[in-house]
């Protein structure tokens, strides 16, 4: 039998009882801690950093210009002089690949930024105004969503020509729809939460609510959105350039290099292999980092 006299007070102070033993950790600190524990994600992060450095300084390492032709030394294999060999006009492939990768990554990043910005603003407008505005904006998304993306992209490339601007428009013209839908759902959900009510009741200004509650809650979803969008954009860019409807020579990107490499595939396979490998490494690093971020950021996966 348990009786009160079997318990005795060992002594405590109010201060000790209220003390928090461990430091408080914000959501982002926690996510970063989780990400650090994931070796695959960290390796891909390092690889990505390396790639970013390489696309900036890579073309200058060997001291060969990426457009200077040297017909005496065309179609060479890897050597101490030309690490990745030269192409059919005797241009240094090492420099060309990093310039091409720079274009590919840049296109993917800008297209992703466009997708996120347009999608967020559109989704926020839908959730904020509601009613018939929401209805009409939603119908527009449904119409855009029911079109095969690739057809639209090809058509737009045809009209605007083969340049960087056209490619960005073509890539992001339908991509923002999914972001807009997610943001709309998210804000609608957040609007109903108790802590947003509480903030409103306590007299918080709309800007404060947006910055303190909406943005931090949506940020993780937007980051995940970006991490899946970037590899997709790199893929599409390479594919379009390969078909001759993305960027075309003399502009270079990994897609352009791959399509040039395919022409000499039978005799000089290295000209195709190097750009392909770089493309795959970039995409794989983004994909693996994305997986790691999903595990780190998604609260539902936490045990």
């Amino acid at each position: 039998m348990l009786t009160p006299d079997k318990f005795k007070i060992v002594g405590y102070t109010q201060e000790e009882a209220n003390k928090i033993d461990r430091p408080t950790i914000s959501y982002w600190q926690d996510a970063w801690r989780r990400l650090k524990k994931n070796p695959v994600a960290m390796v891909s992060l390092v690889v990505l950093c390396f790639l970013v450095i390489m696309v900036i300084i890579g073309p200058h390492i060997r001291g060969y210009d990426y457009i200077t032709m040297n017909v005496a030394e065309k179609n060479q294999g890897s050597s101490a002089k030309y690490w990745f060999g030269t192409d059919y006009l005797g241009r240094d492939l090492f420099s060309r690949i990093w310039v091409g990768a720079r274009a590919s990554i840049l296109i993917a990043l800008v297209a992703t930024a466009l997708k996120l910005i347009v999608g967020t603003l559109y989704g926020a407008a839908m959730a904020h105004f509601g009613g018939w505005v929401d209805d009409i904006l939603m119908r527009i998304i449904e119409v855009l969503n029911s079109l095969p993306n690739l057809l639209i992209t090809i058509l737009i490339m045809m009209v605007l020509g083969n340049n960087m601007f056209a490619l960005l428009v073509a890539l992001s013209i339908t991509a923002w729809c999914s972001t807009a839908r997610q943001v709309r759902g998210m804000i609608k959900q957040l609007k109903e939460t108790e802590y947003v009510y509480a903030a409103e009741v306590l007299g918080a200004k709309p800007l404060h609510i947006i910055i303190k509650h909406y943005v931090p809650n949506m940020l993780s979803i937007l980051i995940l959105n970006a991490s899946t969008a970037i590899p997709q954009f790199i893929f599409t860019e390479a594919g379009l350039s390969f078909l001759g409807i993305g960027l075309t020579a003399p502009e270079i990107s990994l897609g352009v290099l791959i399509s040039q490499g395919q022409k000499t595939l039978d005799f000089y396979p290295s000209q195709l292999v190097y750009p392909c490998v770089v493309l795959c490494v970039i995409v794989m690093a983004f994909n693996l980092l994305g997986d790691g971020l999903r595990d780190a950021l998604d609260p539902r996966l936490r045990q």
Partner: protein, 318 residues
């Protein structure tokens, strides 16, 4: 239900109208016209006759109205570049090729992907699981394009096991000429393997933690019976709803594969037609492919309800 169907139908008509108009004006905005290459070398008189024959002598808005009215009757007109070629004939000649390629890819890719997904989920945390996950990340990270070129180089170029390019025609159109279809099918099926393995694995792991699985376990059901009767049935919902989307995507997804292996499919011709500004063909293909895609989206929405009775019929309130 009837209200919902009517709404969907109106949306379909509107969407098709918008896409047709957009395609028309986009192609009109490209400088030059589809006939100039053929007509420039001809004498003025023949040139006029040629332009008249294709109706290009009329102002743009008049042609727009004409094209749209004819389109409503199902007539997209004749190709500007290849005399006598119509959209109907094109669909008849080329759609079976793309359809066979797409079907083979999907059947192989989805089957293998689902099997791998089941294995990965049931053997969670073992070496097999990590291998499947690693494989699917690898397969997702290598574009179609590179797979196609690699397979072509190795198995058709170096080893000479399969022909480099080409596609069976005539009586071999559906069954036969398998050696031509192996490499393109493999190229396309990898992405299905990867995505379906991931999809089913995630969905199975979601279901494993449900209470009814715990109940089944405590009732003493065998592991196989739990997987078959409870886990698989419930985790197939996302798979079932993903399938029609894959059918839709595999039509346009094969554009690259058709280009690599010179397969005379509908995608390869689309790219050529866009490059030639062949308005009638582009318009026809765009409208038909969009129509197909929209119908597939509609089937997907209905499927959600059929496979998961917990979801209310679209247009119905709970």
């Amino acid at each position: 239900m009837a209200k919902y169907l009517i709404r969907r139908f109106c949306e379909l008509v509107l969407t098709i109208f918008l896409i047709a108009s957009a395609t028309f004006f986009l192609l009109e905005a490209v400088p030059g016209d589809p006939l100039s290459e053929r007509a420039d070398k001809l004498p003025v008189q023949s040139r006029e006759i040629l332009y008249k024959r294709y109706g290009l002598d009329k102002p743009m808005m008049e042609r727009y109205v004409l094209t749209m009215t004819r389109m409503c009757k199902g007539d997209f007109g004749e190709s500007f570049v290849y005399a006598g070629q119509t959209v109907g004939g094109l669909i008849h000649d080329r759609l079976p090729v793309s359809a066979r390629l797409g079907l083979q890819q999907m059947i192989l890719g989805v089957t293998v992907g689902l099997l791998l997904g089941i294995v990965a989920a049931t053997k969670r945390g073992t070496a097999i699981d990590y291998m499947v996950v690693g494989l699917s990340v690898l397969l997702i990270s290598i574009p179609h394009l590179i797979f196609g070129l690699m397979l072509q180089k190795i198995f058709a170029g170096t080893l000479r096991w399969f022909p480099t390019i080409g596609w069976p025609a005539g009586k071999d159109l559906w069954l036969g000429g398998w050696e031509y279809t192996v490499l393109p099918t493999l190229t396309g099926c990898f992405s299905y393997i990867a995505s379906y393995a991931r999809l089913l694995k995630t969905s199975m792991l979601d279901v494993v933690n449900q209470d009814y699985v715990l109940t089944a376990e405590s009732k003493g059901l065998s592991k196989g019976a739990i997987i078959r009767k409870h886990i698989l049935r419930n985790s197939f919902i996302p798979v079932m709803t993903q399938l029609p989307m894959s059918v839709g995507m595999c039509i346009t997804g094969s554009f690259f594969i058709e280009s690599i292996y010179s397969i005379p499919g509908i995608g390869q011709y689309y790219v050529t037609a866009v490059n030639n500004q062949d308005l009638s063909i582009v318009l026809g293909e765009t409208v038909l492919l969009s129509l197909l895609y929209i119908i597939i989206l509609f089937i997907t929405d209905i499927l959600y309800v059929v496979v998961d009775p917990r979801i209310a019929m679209p247009g119905q309130e709970h």
